[in-house]
């Protein structure tokens, strides 16, 4: 141990070369300040990003929730046989019905003690122009009701609805030829009397689109069906094709120019703008193959081509995650390569494949641009398709295209619908993503 003494002894001889560690020098302080600043930038970037998300969601919710309620006017309408028959004989059937409702409405007003010198025609403006048709539909569907008095909840016009939701103010009405302040006074008193009321709006969720003049009637239900049929096409085509392509590329493909070409194509297709797929759909499916325009079938085909790269990429990842030992074990007991893949690898990769497929479908569900080019936009989601074939082939819209359609219309009452439609669309997307996450959690394997 003598040597040690010599060694450490030298340390004492050496002069301290630097200042104490316990004192932070000025340069280090400056550097630490820069460090703190840099970290702040990063944190602010994250916060800004999250704030954008919050702002977006808040906007959607605050503008869209009102689409789920709608203003109704409760009117007992006497359905006199003579009047009904006269109306049915006439050429302008609905305007006769409108007169019947008008009289009933005037009675409601007077029995509620609301005095007005407005003409029946002016009073009629408070009601949706679709009200007469809904009374008529009811009568035709229930002939037994003729001769009785039936109490209808009729849609109020979109201006009245907007007034009760705070969208339309009295100032707005100065230049409005449909409604004026006198109407609003009546609305105030009717709503105090409980005759005009906001209710939950099932028609928005399940109903069809309505024309420009009847925003209060427009619903997203039919375009939802359009989306549903499109997703069916996408699922039925992209899952098997995507899985087959992935199996080939991951398990069988030799390393050659052809395989490379496919790989390059897949990664590029994943980044091709969606509008280009719309052009492809228009030229290939409609111009060339003469498939019907605006049909969910065509929309589904286009979206399939668009989602395939996504599905192939995620499927290959989950095939890759199955360890080679599984394949070797199967091959070892004399299975053919094909059998080892289909009997052993594929089932193990299935949860991952399904997760990827659901995420791909969610992407397709929200896609709008290509649908515009194949004509799935405009006032077309107006009838519930009768039957499965019609569901695929009859002109229809899709949820995002319907939202776009509403956003384009002039009447701001449609904006509320557009935001409301977004809420429904996002609910669908959220559900799909949650299912995907659950699937992944549930079946996640660690090898």
């Amino acid at each position: 141990m003598t040597d040690t003494t010599a060694q450490t002894g030298r340390a004492v001889a050496a002069p301290a070369r630097k200042g104490s560690l316990l004192e932070v020098d000025s340069l280090t302080r400056k550097r630490n300040a820069a460090e703190a600043r840099f970290k702040m930038y990063g944190l602010s970037a994250v916060i800004v990003g999250l704030l954008f998300l919050v702002a977006l969601l808040a906007t959607i919710l605050s503008n869209g929730t009102s689409a789920f309620t709608q203003t109704f006017i409760t009117i007992p309408v006497p359905l006199e046989r003579a009047e009904i028959e006269a109306a049915e004989k006439s050429i302008v059937k609905t305007s006769k019905y409108r007169a019947i409702i008008g009289t009933a409405f005037a009675n409601v007003l007077s029995s509620a003690g609301i005095e007005t010198d407005m003409s029946a025609k002016d009073l009629d403006k408070m009601m949706s122009s679709g009200a007469a048709a809904s009374v008529r539909d009811f009568v035709l569907a229930n002939p037994a009701s003729i001769g009785t008095t039936h109490t209808f909840d009729l849609l109020a016009s979109s201006r009245v609805d907007g007034y009760l939701k705070g969208r339309v103010t009295r100032e707005d009405l100065i230049n409005d030829k449909n409604l004026d302040a006198a109407h609003l006074d009546i609305v105030d008193r009717l709503s105090a009397a409980g005759i005009v009321q906001k209710r939950f709006n099932w028609q928005f969720i399940f109903g069809a689109d309505a024309s420009d003049s009847r925003p209060e009637q427009a619903g997203i239900g039919v375009s939802m069906i359009g989306s549903f049929f499109m997703m069916l096409v996408v699922l039925v085509l992209s899952l098997p094709i995507g899985v087959a392509a992935s199996i080939y590329l991951e398990e069988f493909a030799p390393k050659n120019r052809f395989t490379d070409l496919i790989e390059v194509n897949i990664s590029n297709l994943a980044a091709v703008p969606s509008i280009v797929f719309g052009i492809l759909g228009l030229a290939a499916f409609i111009q060339f193959a003469h498939l019907p325009q605006s049909a969910p079938l065509v929309g589904g085909l286009v979206l399939t081509l668009m989602t395939l790269p996504t599905i192939i990429i995620s499927t290959r990842a989950s095939l890759k995650s199955v360890p080679p030992s599984i394949r070797n074990a199967a091959l070892g007991v004399g299975a053919s390569k094909m059998q080892s893949v289909f009997h052993h690898v594929l089932p193990l990769a299935m949860p991952g494949i399904l997760t990827g497929t659901i995420i791909g479908l969610a992407q397709a569900l929200g896609e709008t641009a290509p649908l515009l080019l194949i004509g799935m936009v405009g006032f077309i989601a107006s009838n519930v398709p009768d039957g499965v074939a019609a569901g695929f082939l009859d002109p229809n819209s899709a949820m995002p295209a319907q939202i776009y359609e509403w956003a384009k219309r002039a009447d701001p009452a449609f904006y509320e619908r557009a935001w409301g439609g977004i809420i429904i669309l996002l609910l669908f997307l959220m559900t799909m993503n949650i299912i995907a996450i659950i699937l992944r959690r549930r079946f996640e394997r660690r090898w």
């Binding site: 954008f52 080939y248 703008p273």
Partner: protein, 489 residues
Amino acid sequence: MSLPILVFVLLALSVAGYVLGRGRAMASAGGDARKLHSLPNYYGWFGFLVALLPAALMLLLWLPAQSVVIDTQVSAMISDRSAAESSRGLVMSDVERVAEGLDLAVDAGVLTEEQAASIRTEFTDVRERLGEVGVALGSDVTSETLQAAQRYRALSSTGDLLRTLAVVAAALAGLAFVYRRAASTFRARNAVEAVVRWILILAASIAILTTVGIILSLIFNTVEFFSLYPAWDFFFGLTWSPSFGGGSELGILPLLWATLYISFIALAVSVPIGLFAAIYLSEYAGPAVRAVAKPLLEVLAGIPTIVYGLFALLTVGPLLVDIFGDGGVLGVGWMGGGTAVMTAGLVMGIMLIPFVSSLSDDIINAVPQAMRDGSLGLGATHSETVKQVILPAALPGIVGAILLAGSRAIGETMIVVLGAGAAARLSLNPFEAMTTVTAKIVSQLTGDADFASPEALVAFALGMTLFVITLGLNVIALYIVRKYREQYE
């Protein structure tokens, strides 16, 4: 036989093929499955595929061929005079509608088959008769159209008959083949696996087919466009003013300018925010923050673009007007309306934040830990390490990510359709409304323009330009990113 029934019959025959193949094999092995070369089911599948595939292929080829043949035959009947009045295509679609109407009328029992084949416009008001069954025709049916339609129907029904015969014959031939081959020594499994392998290859080739399809559909129509409108004027024209009466000026430059301007703003918003967020999340944030913030940011990427479009149109646009517009908070009056380059650019920037951040995150994480340790071990602070070691090392990857984001921005449609405006303009003011390549593709193809007019066809030339630009960006970006990854593998 109608198409659905034919398909059904074909499937039934294929199932028969399964039963036949399996049964024959079992019989030849005397009922002892062990004597077979392959499992009995493979003989069944062999039968199924042999009955189905050739016939199905025949059907797939037949369908377009038949419609082409009929089209040429029928359109030859249309005189040049009536083709000159409107376009031949329009007359042909009239013919098809009348033919369809006649079909419906026969189905509904309004006309008998003979009547449908023989009615003449001279004796019957065809338009009204068809109206009764719910086929609305825009104009009166000329006798020429009606005759063409009748010819169309006759050819179609002959074609359908031949089609049925051909397909069923192919399926039966398949069955006969199965009957002969399905014996115990036949290597059914190898045969089936070879077919399955081809099916897999076919599925994988769809990626190539799609690309080819895109290129063909762009090229044909673009060439047609350039035969109507000079390419020089398209690529170098400074004005975009389509007018459906003719005499349009269709220069792409104003559109390209706005596209690039908006993309630039979008990148200016998303690259700093996305990059810093990625740096923070991968270098500083604790596991808890990371686990919450990362998926939340990625929610922004999962929101459909139509939502961003609406957000631009109805929220951000009016907000910007309140700030930069006439009588706005700043009182500068730069902004006339809500739709503007700035509006679209900002919102697109928000959309791209998660795109940039998750790509950069991957790339930053690919920088080996040893590099960080080396720098920290020398006494560098974390930010010095990031700025001077990690970012330079990750630079190629980040450049690739930015290029990919740029390609996204250039190809984005819904945000610009709703947020950027409709008027083409070459201006430097970002608060002015301008319109982009994608927005004009939509408006030119969803308008009422005749499909053969340059005003509609220009959309394909625009699409071609868009495709070439984004493809170029993607190829370069993917190449850079791949090279970058290989470097650290």
